[in-house]
Amino acid sequence: MEPPTKGTVTPIASLFSEEEARKAAIYVEEKIGEKREAMNRLQQFVDENANLINLVAKLPDQLHHNVMVPLGKLAFFPGRLIHTNEFKVLLGENYYADRTSKQTIGVLSRRDKTLQSQIRSLKAEIEDFQTEASFFTATASEAAEGLIEIREDYVEEDSSPTVLQSGAKEPSDLPGGETAVGEVEDDEFARIMSRLNELEMEEEQEGEDGDDRDEKHDSPIEIEEESEHDMVKGIRGETDHNKFMEQETGVSVPKKASGHSSSILLIQPRSKGKVIEVLPEKQPYKDIDDLLNQCIGPKTQYLPKDQTRGGIPQQNAGTWRDFQATSAVSRAKPKTNVVGQQKIESPIQKPEPKSETNKAFTGLIVEHDHNLQTNTHRQMQSSGSQPSKPVSRFMAQRR
């Protein structure tokens, strides 16, 4: 591939010949003339209208006026106007209305308004045409002067070399047996791949930044973990659907380990410092262990877990509210989504104390969020278990 020529140079005269531009200018000038004529006609109407308004205002001053009554265009009778406060005004479509002098003046002034607006629009059009005409004349003069247009395609400088490199590399890596046509496609493919790689690199960098951000206000993930507890506990309450529960925990453990491993590692020191003292149970890994234990020997451990579930939030309602605040601030968006979720969950929380509902609410907010975030993970791992989860929770609540 040879580097393409950098640009093109075209004299304006070849694009728009001077003669053509002049013709266009003349054409536009003609149009301006037409519009001017139309505007003059409208202006005449306006003048007539103003005169008529004067006349209509004056006519009722006397009982009758001596006038020449026209009979056709050529003949007149000497006569007089009678009923000088009765006018018949055309409304349009051959409908006439009987109006008094004042009402007629109202009709006429409304007509005047529409005429004025028409004149205004015509003026705007004329201005448009005038700028067009001046543009054409300018183009004509430019063409006459021999102006040149230089056009250069913009090429991304940093991407092109890598594209060429990767394009050279990757086809060689690929298995042989490609036709000449295939090579061209490969080139494109390689370019796309290199672009993708770049994007991935960028994303990774961004991801690191994102982790840092998480560290700063890590409450979301923290609460995610908590919510995971709640969720699992809720399921635990229901013994009949043990199988579902096992599936659930089975899913959630690898997810925590794989999907959020980095963030968990980052969070851990913080959560140890702050949270572990108040909420010893909530530490992620411990929880995972618990869950694993439950999977192995489920039924025995339910009772203590449920107890802690009831107890902790009451003790730490304050800290929870803090969490709630931070999470609410940091995730204004998800909150709106949660409303529906909250409605669904509300029966679960009813029998429990108020602070509990507060806590549960935050947990639920994040829980929902969590689901959204890890949706893809779950689907990849086991899409079947997801729909089973809400069902089992409802069932548990009913019992």
């Binding site: 050529l74 007149f76 009778f77 006569g79 009923h83 006018f87 018949k88 006429l108």
Partner: protein, 153 residues
């Protein structure tokens, strides 16, 4: 030769476009004016005839004040009528005099119409002739025999 033909063609086209067609448009417009006048006169005649037949001596009518605003008007005496005789002069006629005047004027207008129509046909004929000339100039080099045959006819 070729150049001369080109010049002829150009000349003919110029005659058609700039001379004859514009003349035609003008004369047609003037004829339309005459038609209009004729219509006004015939309307007036019909009106006067109905007045005459019914022996109406006073009349109530609507006057257009402009912009399609009308007011009632009363004519106490319809026996006398003022008519425009041209150049801003108005003559007071009785109804019968007016009717005679109108018939005379209609005669004149008919004559005028005949004249103008003659002029229009003349112009149209000239345009056709010019078209024929152009056709001949264009056809001559290609098909000599056919054009000569046409000439023979």
């Amino acid at each position: 030769m070729d150049e001369g033909r080109q010049k002829d063609l150009q000349l003919l086209e110029e005659i058609i476009d700039k001379g004859l067609k514009q003349k035609l448009v003008h004369t047609i417009a003037s004829r339309d004016k005459i038609f209009e006048e004729q219509k006004v006169l015939s309307d007036l005649r019909k009106n006067l005839e109905t007045l005459e037949q019914n022996g109406v001596n006073s009349l109530k009518t609507m006057v257009n004040l402009g912009s399609e605003v009308y007011m009632q008007a009363e004519v106490p005496d319809t026996r006398h009528i003022f008519m425009d005789v041209g150049l801003g002069f108005y003559v007071e006629f009785t109804r019968q005099e007016a009717l005679d005047y109108i018939s005379q004027r209609e005669e004149r207008i008919k004559k005028q119409l005949k004249e103008v129509t003659g002029v229009i046909t003349l112009i149209k004929g000239r345009i056709k002739l010019a078209h024929y000339q152009i056709q001949q100039i264009l056809n001559l080099p290609d098909e000599n025999p056919s054009s000569s045959r046409r000439r023979a006819f």
